[in-house]
Symmetry: C2
Subunit: 402 residues, 2 copies
């Protein structure tokens, strides 16, 4: 496959290119990048054969990409996987880097990922942000971003953009947090608070988690539903390799799908939402435990130690997940459901009741359920990789190293 | 807008064209067709300005489309809307026609629609098909198709393809009915039974209903959820002007979204599915009435006459629809929900409880609910128009009049 799945945000770098010679050139630059991303180092001739262009046309494209610092030629001293090492091309390990950031309820994290997908720098800071104003939290995050960018620059990289994952709904301007209930942030323009000088994108953590699964998961199909949980429950719907965002950018709110119409009141205004049965606090409550920090690790430990109350609580959460997912599977007919985020760590105790419910309720063969390898790392990696994918999708916009 | 929303079926005529000169020419032919479809008759210069090509380039494209019988020049005796009537171009009213067919549980219908979207021939036959084998039903349908094609040919049209709407799940080969419970058809290859010599596409009636809304509805947005009911309840998810089909082609099964996990058993194997509360038979049962023919007309008459039992039953159905739609709206964040098919006729009595439920359960401003103008005509018109859209999407494949 020469053009791997990619996600484009309407306002982002992957916008639709015009159907003229200039648009064709930009799409072909992108095809060269995606081919090398999917296949690893290749000769010019191999790239040409992969994308169905002449070798001369590919050479022109490649020269431009080398000049921009996006590709490098592997010299004979660094042999690639092909016959003549001197002629192999590779994505640059000293070119642009994607800076990803995550604002969690209990932590901040930042990382830099190069075009080859390797994490080259990383910083984390623990401490709760529940009820804190956005300004001091973003000031701390900015400090971490500066540290990670400096470290990446020390390795010869330069930041191509910053993407920030937040636990809340983000407007389609990709910078305003409309509502982050667990931080108590409302209509907060993070774009105005984040460091100037870098293109900034803000998105929901579940969206970045789903994209990370699409880009980095093992054999993830192009159509799947990603379910994740931290404090709340988030979903990401990926259709034909693209994230479904919805009209206002609010799609994927699986946590507020009604499971029992007359169930307990939910903070969203509804009743009996999935979050009331399978959210972290609901599970802790059902197990007779007190909410605190490190809730998931705590639940996983107790479950692994054979705590029958925790087992029962997780079984109930799995059943509720199964009911909500039945509705989602009937509507979307995905190839698979992926459990990510904190749910990945709890999967051994959630899966049996979840899969039973899904199988008995879904017509025809039930949709498969898999567990994410990325777990809680998904949103941060997804954020950083979204910047990298933006470069692969439209390398012409990155320009040369500043 | 020069390129109106269109639906492409992976295996259909709207497949992705290669990114080379030949692909560009075919896409530009399509742009000329779509521009005239959206704007009505225009001069060559106006078409050129709409699609951003030179007048010379457009003239070459137009000449090819006239030779193929897809466009015609309106002579001075048939003035168009532009200054010099002799130079106005229009989609041909004597070119290819889309033949649409509908297999209902209680009727068969066929129509021919020209490139301008006008229904030029039509045939209907009533009588129940519940439990009948596919062969005799398709033989009757074929007879109707022959009659409609002959009538269309009498008007100077020629059939470009046949699209058939069925009340069941259709495989992604677009010809095999996997399951049509109300006909009791299973794994039936309709493609083999339908008349040879015409390209045939089979699809679920709810899908064609949703597409009809996209193409023919008044101000229908590009992101909406279409809900329809005949015997069962069907849904169609349209995202960014495209129908979401799912991995196996089974997306949109709103009728089997769980409303009450411990509710009554459903034929699908689940429990408490929406169909058990808002399907026609469930509503008749809740109103203390017997299922028979013309169920919807009957319910609408009784409701209009002030029958309190029917009002209560429809109120309950509206509440169940509201619960199921809350989940769907949370997952998909559509711009609007459109009630189509039989639900359109019952909307006055369904809407109050449906909208109340949706408003109190959805976070933020509730999604708007509108009523389809097409009603039960949707699937048949959607089928015929799908063939016409196939011609607009890739006019090069139609060739010249046979």
């Amino acid at each position: 496959m020469t053009a791997p799945p990619h996600e484009t945000r309407p306002s982002g770098s992957g916008r639709r290119l015009p159907d003229n010679q200039q648009g064709m050139r930009r799409r072909n630059l992108s095809r060269v990048m995606h081919t090398l991303n999917a296949e690893g180092p290749l000769s010019r001739a191999a790239v040409a054969s992969h994308i169905g262009l002449t070798r001369a046309a590919v050479s022109t494209l490649v020269d431009e990409l080398i000049r921009s610092g996006l590709l490098e030629e592997l010299g004979p001293e660094r042999p690639g996987r092909v016959g003549r090492p001197g002629s192999a091309l590779a994505l640059s390990g000293r070119g642009p880097a994607g800076i990803g950031a995550e604002i969690g309820v209990d932590h901040l994290a930042v990382c830099a990922v190069d075009l080859r997908g390797e994490v080259r720098a990383r910083a984390v800071r623990h401490g709760t942000h529940r009820g804190r104003a956005p300004e001091p939290v973003i000031a701390e995050l900015t400090e971490l971003v500066r540290r990670v960018v400096a470290e990446a620059e020390g390795e010869g990289l330069w930041p191509a953009g910053l993407a920030v994952a937040v636990p809340g709904l983000v407007a389609s301007d990709a910078r305003t947090v409309v509502r982050a209930p667990n931080l108590d942030w409302h209509d907060t323009d993070l774009g105005a608070l984040l460091p100037a000088g870098l293109p900034v994108t803000v998105d929901n953590e579940a969206n970045f988690g789903g994209l990370a699964e699409l880009w980095l998961g093992d054999d993830t199909p192009l159509d799947f539903l990603h379910v994740s949980a931290e404090i709340g429950i988030g979903g990401a719907v990926v259709v034909d390799g693209r994230l479904l965002r919805g009209t206002r950018g609010f799609a994927g709110e699986l946590g507020h799908v009604p499971v029992r119409p007359e169930g307990p009141d939910c903070a969203c205004g509804g009743r009996g939402c999935l979050e009331q049965y399978a959210g972290e606090e609901a599970v802790l409550r059902a197990a007779g435990l007190e909410p605190g920090e490190h809730r998931v690790e705590f639940l996983a430990e107790r479950a692994a130690a054979g705590d029958k109350d925790v087992h029962r609580a997780l079984r109930g959460a799995g059943t509720a997940l199964g009911v909500a997912l039945t509705g989602a599977v009937n509507l979307l007919d995905p190839q698979t459901v992926v459990l990510g985020g904190a749910l990945a760590a709890l999967a051994p105790w959630l899966l049996p009741s979840l899969e039973r419910e899904l199988a008995r309720r879904t017509a025809g063969p039930a949709c498969s359920v898999t567990v994410s390898r990325l777990g809680s790392e998904g949103p941060l990696l997804g954020a950083a990789h979204s910047v990298v994918r933006g470069v692969l999708d439209d390398p012409a916009t990155v320009g040369v190293r500043p």
